[in-house]
Amino acid sequence: MSVKEKQEKFKKEVTIRFSGDSGDGIQLTGSQFTSTIAISGFDLSTFPDFPSEIRAPAGTVSGVSGFQIHFGSKAIHTPGDSCDVLVVMNAAALKANLKSLKTGGIIIANSDGFHKRDLSLAQYPVDATPLQDAKDSGYTVIEIDVTRLTRESLKDTGLPNKDIDRSKNMFVLGVLYWLYSRPLEPTVSFIQKKFKKKPLIAEANVRALNDGYTFGIATELFSERYNVEAAPIEPGTYRNITGNDATSLGIAAVAKNSGVPVFLGSYPITPASEILQYLSGLKHYGVTTYQAEDEIAAIASAIGASYGGSLGVTTSSGPGIALKSEAITLAVMLELPLVIVNVQRAGPSTGLPTKTEQSDLLQALYGRAGETPLVVVSPASPAECFSITYEACRIAVEHMIPVMVLTDGYIANGSEPWKLPKKSELKPFRFRFAKADEQSDSQTPFLPYKRDDNLVRPWAIPGTKGLEHRIGGLEKQHETGHISYDPDNHQLMTELRKEKRDNIAKVIPGQEMDEGSDSGKLLVVGWGSTYGAIKSAVTDVREEGCDVSYLHIRHLSPFPANLGDMLRRFERILVPELNQGQLVKLLRDTYLVPAEGYNRIRGVPFTVAELREKITETYNRS
């Protein structure tokens, strides 16, 4: 074997996109690469791109599955607008992804996926030569016959070709590990664990991985290999986590730590199902899960559980939230704790279920019958889903109020390193169930709507002797909770429900500036999953000399108490959102500030480039 010395280059950051047919094991390849990268101490951000159909025909563009990872030695906030390296297992993958490759970028192609039949399935013209065309357009194309090499490498395992071909992805992964100077051990131990009961398959995968790496060393195809320096990351124990997993763990942590049992009533819906799936396997952590017959039953069961002294939680996406809206109004009237997670997707109606959007903010705040104030919070990144969900549960319990958590498909499926919280950071909730002798002597009846200083009513659960009482969706008399049609009482109760919600502004953290000074010409305001893209764009334009500030709102209802003052110190406010302008409406309405929107609804996240351009343009506009 002739080992040629190759030059090693250092890079600050790199974005790689793996793509292939759904059956090529792309998600596994991506997540393994991610683990290895993470363990090496890089900051990173990933985004899986699933085909929209579960079983699209093999080899077609609609069946292409992708996984993008952006890692580097500086703080990484997004999975990257475009990639430096594109791995394509077949022609369809190239067709679907070439647009996301940077000019002059590297294509690593499985040449076995570019036969006539593959080209025709990908709907290239009969005589097309897409790889040659790519070379001609200035891309570096490295063709590897992965199928042949993998078969060769595993020919004496005795496995049939069908099984051997399943290890193709490991061969490619081996090549990539060599190219980016990464160790094989983490993936080897993963394979051994995963295929513990099938040692032959495990051995085949490990061998394919090793041979891929050796191929990188030996081949003449690569003229250089790369290394990326580790990022300066805050010390601690880390793991990689997706938003939906972080939300699930937030809920599990509440069940384990807060002192309140958790009952999750949910109904499957894209892209929220993973939360129900994950928690269904965590019953031994104190989360009771229940898959209901529909969205309404899901939230209704959660309300029933809250009435009984659990924290009722329900998880869904926009269309499901619409179905739940009447039940949410009931929870507002009952003044029971309830957490509603909306993993937003591109709508309306069925819309683009696997794509992302931020268009349910106004639904969260106003999309219901009557005046039904509730609390709305939104995490900024996958890892933040954990702490924000924990916080949402705390507010719900301590303030006896429904809280909606707005995540979206982008952070739900995207992943990033997460610094594990210490147990002491997960404080038990301050709450207790009402007891008979607390409020009144045994002669006077129990007052289920008598409020404390925060206007919070007592949580009196069935089984408590002496507190038998009736509550419901009909308007209730102040304090007694009896049915009341009195006009003044309705006015009072409506105001009290709102005031109770507004009071929460006193206990949530004040708004902080994320980037830049406290006053100036331009403030960019974001919420939710756009954090990474906006943060990167603002950092970039600041480096270019534009004095732009950035703040990111996590508490959307009520807003942090100091938000208005912060906004008013700027001449211009730019609010980028993946909707037609929802937060911008709220800010203008609440604070009478001249905020303007930058709105995109294409089902995909902002690119850093487009934001950079918009921010610069707004900053420079006279």
């Binding site: 942590a253 069961s301 009736r470």
Partner: protein
């Protein structure tokens, strides 16, 4: 979790066997009684606001009378309701009560009972609330079989919204929204409940309070979802809907009162009977010499197939040769309750997987240190 269930019960047959005996064992309620409470102690301080003469009053009275017999402390009893005249019921009971939203009482009760199996949970609902807007939750509760008592007041009309036809109104029923007669084929609630795999299915009528009390007691005693349809006269919008079955003398040619292990007889002097010719029921005249009581169908509450045949006795009584409408318990079958399975599954998971600390869970499969 599937794995866990499988480990608990090696095969499906074993699974059902085990869960059957399990529910049988637990069906005796051993909760302490609530002192010497009387029916009236279960009346709340709220004025009852149904129309004078409404059948709901009898039902309320009978339920309050039943309560002290349950042997369940008052604070452990919860009435859950949706929307409609029947659904005001919880306000009148001096127990815990939750007046929810239209059609969803069964779903709310499910979450409550699943998380609090210690409570005695009752759902009061009507034909519109239960079978129309709430139809989905109703059938799913029946198949899951949580230990919840459903009392469905059937008045074949929407009362609270002032007189529109309901899913149990008969074809041709003239109401505010069917001035030319309803075109809808009505639901047969008992057949529906049996079809949804309900484990306890019964019928009673407001005008026969003694029998109603009997059947309420049976419903309460059933471990699993009990579905009791109560014919309830709405004096204002559908007066007399159940007249054919409200004979003072209780036994008429139109009704048949069924009892476990007893032959099916009816008529003023028990002069008629029902026999089965294969699976085909047939009315026989016991006064003729052809048939005697010994030839009759003997009711078996455990026989789901026969319960189904009984539930099909649903023709309008003016149809010639119509079968009498059955009152009583059609089916009482022991089957594992959802909450038992759920809490056994949780216990099994804890036993098998231990009760790991939060740290283990949060760390996941792979962590790394940054120093």
């Amino acid at each position: 979790m599937e794995r866990l269930l499988h480990e608990l019960f090696t095969d499906t047959k074993d699974f059902y066997q085990t869960t059957r005996t399990m529910s049988a064992k637990q069906s005796t309620k051993t909760a302490p009684t609530n002192g010497n409470l009387k029916g009236k102690d279960f009346a709340s301080d709220q004025d009852v606001r149904w129309c004078p003469g409404c059948g709901d009053y009898t039902i309320l009275k009978q339920v309050q009378t039943l309560m002290p017999k349950l042997g369940v402390p008052r604070e452990n009893i919860v009435f859950v309701a949706g929307i409609g005249c029947s659904s005001r019921f919880p306000y009148y009971m001096n127990t815990y009560g939750l007046h929810g939203i239209h059609g969803r009482a069964t779903a709310i009760a499910t979450g409550l009972k699943a998380s609090r199996p210690d409570l005695s949970v009752w759902v009061t609902t009507g034909d519109g609330d239960c079978l129309s807007i709430g139809g989905n939750h109703f059938i799913h509760l029946l198949r899951r079989n949580l230990d919840i008592n459903i009392l469905m007041f059937n008045n074949e009309i929407y009362g609270l919204t002032k007189g529109q036809y309901s899913p149990t109104s008969h074809v041709g029923h003239v109401t505010k929204t069917s001035p030319m007669g309803s075109l809808d084929s009505p639901f047969n609630p008992l057949t529906l409940a049996l079809g949804a795999n309900g484990s306890f299915v019964a019928r009673a009528i407001d005008r026969d309070p003694k029998h109603l009390q009997e059947i309420l007691e049976r419903s309460a005693g059933h471990k699993g979802t009990s579905f009791l349809e109560i014919y309830q006269n709405c004096v204002v919008f559908n007066d007399g809907a159940f007249q054919p079955w409200t004979d003072k003398e209780r036994k008429s040619n139109n009704s048949i009162y069924i009892y476990d292990e007893k032959p099916l007889v009816f008529g003023k002097e028990d002069e008629y009977g029902i026999r089965l010719d294969g699976h085909k029921p047939e009315i026989v005249d016991l006064r003729s010499n052809e048939w005697s009581v010994n030839d009759l169908w003997v009711h078996d509450e455990k026989d789901r197939n026969k319960a189904f045949i009984l539930s099909r006795f649903f023709e309008d009584n003016w149809v010639e040769g119509a079968f009498p409408r059955p009152f009583g318990v059609l089916l009482a079958e022991e089957r594992a309750t959802y909450e038992d399975l759920l809490h056994r599954q949780i216990a099994a998971a804890k036993e098998r997987l231990g009760e790991p600390g939060l740290e283990d869970l949060l760390s996941g499969e792979e962590t790394w240190e940054v120093r």
